[in-house]
């Protein structure tokens, strides 16, 4: 049957995901709508208001947005889903959404930059004052997740952002803008998602990426089934595929850290490197994120 | 072909009355000129007939059909009237030929026929060969002629002209006058022709309506207007008649009275039933005045003499009554100049009918 997928994956990745899924399920035709997470949420808000949700499955950047939808009772629970091998906390306990990969946010800097920051704390050093960018949490789900995780963490808290502000950090619209800024040297230091920095580096951009030892924040790009779906069977097949070894390998090929550690590690990750994932309580973050965002907005604007 | 009845039409702009209770009745096929000083409401009347202005009171009927009235207002495009605008209103984006052929195009006339009629119309106004020019590249007179051709080409049943010859030189004007006369004779179209040139009006019209400040003052044949003006305004306006005060000495007999004017006793024409009395007004024409070489008549002081090709226009004031002004034409061989004193004798004239209002 027909399956409608709303996803915020980059265009090429989305295409490959669908292709691979259809290779396994040739009888399912997948319609894709791809856009930024917030555009997708806007679109769905309108669809809800009109009483005609269109999506069957969602594959969007972060769990917080999923929590929002879950709170509105829009997501279908899929208790039979095979979650073996998935990291704790990457999927919803009620089995309404499942993390498909780990997209971490760390520190990127221009290869020619005089200072090589290694830890989050390094970003507050006066040597790099006024040279730091980050994606605005108001436009990037990953950044919002980072914000709330840091704020909730006792060792960092708001103090960290106050320090950043004092050190002249600016928030820009989205990870793409951070990448450009850092790569061009316009602002040589930035907070950025891993794959973007590392893919650019692989192509030859003058950019370096570090996973700070304090831990990186990871969003999981979860997949979920809409409660309103009229093709539950195929939707479940899609979730199965994403969580399957084949699906996870695909994520790996695309340059992501798969949710299932067992399928391997991406080439860019140095052998034996440990990525410490910042502990995250999705429920708490979901509850706090609105307040955190608006506080951030007041501090940094945007 | 269509008759035109205008009944009690009033048109107000704000609280300014541009037309006041105008009534005119045109016979089918008649050529009527509307004559009057600038700003008297001629264009407004014409626009009301064409349907561009909604009238404030009265009715306008074309061929017995009510076009404008208290409750109805037919739009201009369904009145089938032709019109030549005072400011030409040529379409700048169309060539001369396209301007002229427009009505035919609208009327879905076949191309060959259309081109023939356009060619004819352009020939008529002496613009052959200008087909492809744009209005902006024409001289003022040429534009006027294009506007003319544009109106004539559609052969409408009622044609309205708003000073169509104002910008043409005398010769073209004479030629166009002949054209209009022929056009009228040929087609029998009812024509309303607005002008401030009385010679033009007289040459062309069956009847002339003289307007002043929104009112129709007199509606009569050209000869009547000239010979028997209804009041001082008409007398003055038509052929620049001299209006002088006079005393009528006898009651009218056979259309004539004796009267005293400038101290001379003369026989004048008058309307039937003209009573004797002082305070009458008389209209004199240039040919009612002769220069008397024998010393008879009234002495006048010439204050201005303007050469006008073969003759001069003289302005003079009676020596005894310097507040009166006489303007008349004199043959050139007299060579009168400002400052001269000459004696004038009145040999005819028309007693203006008493104003019913006073």
């Amino acid at each position: 049957g027909d399956l409608t997928l709303y996803t915020s994956q980059p265009e090429a990745d989305a295409a490959k995901t669908v292709e691979a899924f259809q290779a396994v399920n040739p009888d399912v035709k997948v319609q894709v709508f791809r856009s930024g997470t917030s555009d997708i949420l806007s679109k769905m808000a309108a669809e809800f208001a009109a009483g005609a949700p269109q999506a069957d499955v969602l594959l969007i950047a972060d769990a917080v947005s999923m929590e929002g939808l879950k709170a509105q009772d829009r997501l279908l629970s899929y208790p039979e889903a095979d979650v073996t091998g998935l990291g704790e906390g990457t999927y919803d306990a009620d089995k309404t959404y499942f993390g498909s990969k780990l997209i971490t946010t760390g520190i990127a800097y221009n290869s020619e930059a005089p200072v090589q920051p290694a830890t989050w704390a390094d970003l507050t050093k006066p040597e790099i004052k006024d040279q730091i960018v980050m994606p605005s949490p108001l436009y990037s789900g990953a950044a919002a997740f980072l914000l709330s995780s840091f704020v909730a963490d006792t060792s960092m808290g708001w103090k960290y952002f106050e320090d950043l502000k004092a050190n002249g950090l600016v928030a820009v619209r989205g990870n793409g803008a951070v990448l450009k800024s850092v790569a061009s040297g316009e602002k040589p230091y930035g907070i950025l998602v891993d794959f973007m920095a590392l893919n650019a580096k692989a192509k030859g951009s003058p950019i370096e990426f570090v996973f700070p030892p304090e831990g990186v924040v990871a969003v999981t790009e979860p997949v979920a089934i809409m409660k309103s779906t009229d093709n539950e069977a195929d939707a479940k097949k899609f979730v199965d595929f994403i969580l399957s070894d084949a699906g996870q390998k695909l994520a790996l090929e695309q340059g992501y850290l798969p949710a299932k550690a067992s399928v391997g590690k991406p080439a860019w990750l140095p052998e034996g490197a440990e990525i410490k994932i910042f502990p995250a309580d999705i429920k708490a973050i979901t509850a706090a994120t609105e307040g955190d965002k608006s506080k951030f907005g007041e501090m940094f604007g945007g | 072909m269509a008759g035109l009845r205008i009944e009690g039409v009033t048109k107000r702009f704000g609280d300014f009355e541009a037309l006041k209770d105008v009534t005119l009745d045109l016979r089918d096929g008649e050529f009527v000129a509307v004559l009057g000083p600038s700003g008297c409401g001629k264009t407004t009347l014409l626009r009301a007939i064409a349907g561009f202005e909604k009238i404030s009171a009265g009715t306008i009927l074309i061929d017995g059909v009510e076009m404008s009235g208290p409750s109805r207002h037919q739009p201009p495009e369904s009145r089938n009237v032709g019109i030549v605008f005072q400011n030409y209103a040529l379409w700048p984006h169309m060539s001369v030929a396209e301007n002229v052929g427009y009505a035919l195009r609208v009327g879905k006339v076949a191309k060959a026929e259309r081109e023939r009629r356009v060619r004819e119309a352009l020939q008529l106004v002496d613009l052959t060969g200008m087909d492809d020019r744009r209005p902006a590249n024409l001289s003022g007179g040429q534009r006027q002629r294009v506007a003319l051709a544009r109106c004539l080409v559609a052969a409408p049943s009622l044609v309205l002209f708003d000073e169509p010859l104002a910008n043409l030189d005398v010769h073209l004007r004479a030629a166009m006058e002949n054209e209009f006369a022929d056009f009228h004779k040929r087609t029998g179209t009812t024509i309303v022709y607005i002008t401030h040139d009385q010679a033009e009006a007289m040459a062309l019209a069956d009847r002339i309506a003289v307007m002043d400040r929104g009112r129709v003052i007199q509606f009569a044949s050209p000869r009547d207007l000239y010979a028997r003006p209804a009041n001082a305004m008409v007398a003055h306006f038509i052929a620049n008649g001299i209006v002088l005060p006079a005393s009528v000495l006898t009651a009218e007999v056979n259309g004539q009275v004796r009267a005293e004017i400038l101290g001379q006793q003369v026989t004048l024409r008058s309307m039937a039933g003209q009573p004797p009395g002082i305070g009458a007004q008389v209209c004199l024409r240039s040919h009612d005045i002769v220069v008397s070489d024998d010393g008879g008549g009234s002495e006048v002081l010439v204050t201005r003499a303007v050469y006008r090709g073969g003759g001069s226009r003289i302005e003079a004031h009676p020596v005894g009554q310097p507040e009166l002004e006489l303007v008349f034409d004199l043959d050139d061989d007299r060579r009168v100049k400002a400052g001269d004193r000459i004696a004038l004798r009145v040999i005819g004239g028309w007693v203006l009918p008493p104003d019913p209002a006073t």
């Binding site: 265009e11 090429a12 990745d13 709508f33 930024g36 997470t37 917030s38 555009d39 806007s42 679109k43 808000a45 309108a46 208001a49 009483g51 269109q54 929002g68 509105q72 221009n110 040279q131 960018v133 108001l138 436009y139 002249g168 600016v170 619209r173 793409g176 450009k180 850092v182 790569a183 061009s184 316009e186 040589p188 192509k203 030859g204 951009s205 609105e290 608006s294 907005g297 604007g301 945007g302 | 064409a50 561009f52 739009p75 201009p76 495009e77 369904s78 089938n80 009237v81 019109i83 400011n87 209103a89 040529l90 984006h93 609208v106 209005p135 902006a136 590249n137 544009r150 559609a154 409408p156």
Partner: protein, 567 residues
């Protein structure tokens, strides 16, 4: 009444009804549907949303900021656009055609691209400044990230819009009106001040109103430059609300949208008041004025124009071209490494990109053509048959343009998610919903210049056609359209160019198969593939240039002055 007369009447009435219906469909319906969300929200209570929104400090900060950048951005766009239009339209500078051509092209380049080009050229990493030793220290705060930066970019972005409208008006000036003043011994500046500018007042007011609405409704520029500067305006505030996507989000968004509408409407009301006070109809049929000789100032003025073109077009375009020819963003550019591989990728390997080109060019062209077709009769009603209804129509046409694209897109979604009642046609998930949204959004860009055109037109020209027996439709087609065409088609060009690079509306409405150029560029950018995005942008600009040059070949068959870049 004759049969022909009855025909006329009927066709006139049909036309009026059709126009009203179109406005209803394009403007009132989607806006009304949106408003319905306030009146009868799906979630939560309207009153709660209202009080929450209106009591939030950010709402009023954003409103105030919107007003500010609206006014200042308009002022700058007016100064730029008018100065350029006057220079090009009234003086003897050389290369006018080329200049006009080049000056309207920046409409195609996303303002972010322009800003980035400037940031790079005048920022710490600037090769030029580094060479001169003038480069600011690394990381120093860029002055473009500020209110002034936003205003500057708005001015640059909407200058061409003002330019096109003013230029259309200038073409209509009969030379005698200017000459009459010149022969009074008056200097050119005084002629400009006392005759020319007053005579083109309708265009000035119209252009100001339109650019005000554009500035207030713009999302891209304040999003790009405002966020780092901690500067919030209503469209960015709306976007943030949407990103939060709480249950009552639509209600709040609608409330904020109403605030924008109120600001935009204030602009129109002002315009209406101003343009009715005086009479600007030009009755004479005459040639346009002879150009003023600039004498020895000419090279200087030409140089100034050239600098302007470099700043608003060459610079960003060069930046784009270079980005599109390197393999990775930020990489030092050496000649040997320049490659066309990115072009090859988007043209051959990326299936959606060529489709997006076809879609966007098609959509833009059709939207522009439809808008032009609608604008002529609609302008006729609004300028010449004023009554209460036309005023409402006049206002409602403006709304879809004033609101951020995403809001209009939501309105379109709300309307068309379910098949159209009675007809049973489903336009959701097809290209037609994008076309609908484009028409609704951009109609005003053709309508405003058209109304300005009407205000300058002598009605006698229409009357002459009326007595020739032409019904309204015929008059519109043969007399009125050609006469207002320079103004209307200038609007059409605006629509075409603006729609080509449109993103915010189509981002929500596209579906596979109906991608637009904006969507493709945005996708590439989001995935970090700036080089592909740049390649698509460059291709868009090149295709447009080719198209515009193509129309030049047709110019001989078109009425004078309908192509803004041709005399």
């Amino acid at each position: 009444m004759t049969a022909a007369a009855r025909d006329h009447r009927n066709s006139d009435r049909a036309l009026i009804i059709a126009v009203a219906a179109i406005v209803f469909l394009l403007s009132i319906l989607p806006m009304g549907r949106l408003l319905w969300e306030v009146i009868a929200p799906q979630n939560g209570s309207a009153a709660a949303s209202l009080s929450r929104t209106l009591s939030a400090g950010s709402t009023w900060t954003a409103t105030l900021n919107s007003l500010q950048i609206g006014i200042m951005g308009t002022a700058l766009a007016m100064v730029l656009g008018t100065a350029v239009a006057l220079t090009v339209g009234l003086t003897d500078v050389r290369g006018r055609h080329i200049f006009v051509f080049l000056y309207v092209l920046p409409l195609l380049i996303a303002p972010q691209v322009t800003a980035l080009a400037w940031l790079q050229l005048f920022g710490p990493a600037s090769p030029l400044l580094k060479m001169l030793g003038l480069a600011p220290p690394l990381g120093s705060r860029n002055p473009l990230y500020s209110q002034s930066g936003i205003v500057l970019l708005l001015g640059v972005q909407y200058g061409p819009l003002v330019f096109l409208m003013i230029r259309a008006a200038l073409r209509k000036l009969p030379r005698e009106l200017i000459e009459a003043a010149q022969s009074a011994g008056v200097s050119r500046w005084t002629v400009l001040r006392t005759i020319i500018l007053p005579l083109i007042t309708p265009a000035l007011i119209g252009a100001a109103a339109l650019s005000f609405v554009s500035c207030v409704g713009n999302f891209g520029i304040p999003a790009f430059l405002g966020i780092p500067a901690n500067y919030l305006v209503l469209p960015t505030l709306i976007y943030q609300k949407l990103a939060g996507a709480g249950p009552a989000v639509l209600t709040e968004v609608t409330i904020l949208s109403i605030l924008i509408s109120v600001i935009a409407l204030a602009g129109i009301v002002l315009q209406d008041m101003f343009s009715r006070r005086r009479d600007y109809r030009i009755t004479a049929t005459s040639l346009p004025p002879d150009p003023f000789g600039l004498g020895r100032w000419r090279p200087l003025v030409e140089a100034a124009l050239a600098v302007l073109i470099v700043l608003v077009l060459v610079l960003p375009l060069t930046g784009l071209t270079l980005s599109s020819m390197v393999t990775a963003y930020g990489r030092k550019i050496t000649l040997s490494e320049l490659t066309l591989a990115n072009y090859a990728f988007v043209l051959t390997e990326h299936a959606a990109a060529p489709r997006a080109f076809r879609n966007s060019f098609g959509l833009s062209f059709v939207a522009a053509a439809l808008a032009v077709l609608i604008a002529v009769p609609m302008g006729y009603m609004m300028a010449w048959q004023r009554n209460r209804w036309t005023k409402i129509l006049n206002f409602s046409v403006e709304l879809p343009y004033a609101l951020p694209g995403v809001v209009l897109a939501i309105a379109a979604l709300l309307l068309f998610l379910k098949p159209i009642p009675l007809l049973g046609i489903q336009i959701y998930n097809t290209i037609w919903i994008i076309l609908f949204a484009y028409c609704a959004r951009f109609l005003v860009l053709a309508l405003r210049p058209t109304i300005v055109g009407y205000h300058q037109l002598d009605r006698g020209l229409e009357e002459a056609a009326q007595v020739a027996g032409a019904g309204l439709l015929m008059r519109l087609r043969t007399i009125i359209f050609p006469l207002v065409a320079p103004a209307t088609l200038a609007g059409g060009c605006l629509i075409f160019l603006t729609a080509l690079s449109e993103l915010t509306v189509s981002a929500l409405l596209w579906s596979s198969g109906s991608e637009t150029i904006g969507v493709i560029i945005f996708s590439f950018e989001q995935g970090g593939d700036s080089s592909y995005a740049a390649a698509v942008s460059v291709l868009t600009v090149l295709t447009t240039i080719a198209l515009m040059l193509g129309t030049n070949l047709l110019a001989r068959h078109l009425p004078n002055g309908v192509l803004p870049w041709r005399d």
